[in-house]
Symmetry: C2
Subunit: 118 residues, 2 copies
DNA sequence: TCACCTCTCTACAGGACGTAGTACTACCCC
DNA sequence: GGGGTAGTACTACGTCCTGTAGAGAGGTGA
């Protein structure tokens, strides 16, 4: 998987936050604080779908874009990818476990416990 | 934190694998399969220390480079960084927990348990 | 038909990286 | 002591990615 640029991520954030597939115009409106040219938004949406982060379907002449995967899935995948980078996954995992905060350690523990029960 | 390029990572891998600080020449010898000019290795080592991935100390006229952090720490940090990207850390963590393989889930569980005992 | 929307194509600047040459300095051997 | 050698710093260049956007084409409604 490739990383995302800053604008790309802003746009993914918008689409992840929204539940419905959006057109370029709609995304542009939601990102208004940056005052981007409409084509800029379109270009980025296009690149994102080319990279597989978005899927798009026709709606009249316009395209509607929506995330190909949930943000959680994306984040989890990034984490796994980082993990793949090491020779010693166990050490890295241990380190990671030590680094997450208390509440999050709790979440992780619970998720793992539920796993074990399946 | 910034990501690493491909050559940068090869070089970090070498330095992570080695326990002693190496000179550019030594790194170059260890990476021989690529047949790089000595200055290429030096440039990359230099960039890596500029980015904070390496520290260097003088050894006569030469520099000796060593990782500023362990690979595990680096990987763990990458993972945390990915985690920071999401609005809903819990969901991402849960997702992650579900994605790691059984053995690794075990490792994680153990690390978390030990945490709890401290 | 005219204004408009949306698309696709093309472009360009800036930064990161891989790659390396050049020029300068210090050191060792003959 | 002079030349080769090793090591450094500085500079450079091509490529790819990303942010940014214009130009042109083809529908669409008034």
């Amino acid at each position: 998987m490739k990383g995302l640029g800053e604008l790309e991520r802003s746009i993914m954030d918008i689409l992840w936050a929204e539940n419905a597939p959006l057109t370029a115009r709609e995304v542009g409106r939601l990102i208004e604080d940056r005052d981007l040219a409409p084509t800029t938004v379109m270009t980025v949406l296009d690149r994102l779908s080319r990279k597989g982060f978005l899927t798009r379907t026709r709606d009249g002449r316009a395209w509607r874009y929506q995330p190909a995967a949930s943000r959680d899935a994306y984040v989890a995948e990034l984490m796994l990818e980082a993990l793949d980078m090491t020779g010693d996954r166990d050490a890295a995992l241990t380190r990671f476990a030590q680094a997450v905060s208390g509440t999050e350690a709790e979440i992780l523990r619970k998720a793992l416990t539920e796993l074990g029960e399946e």
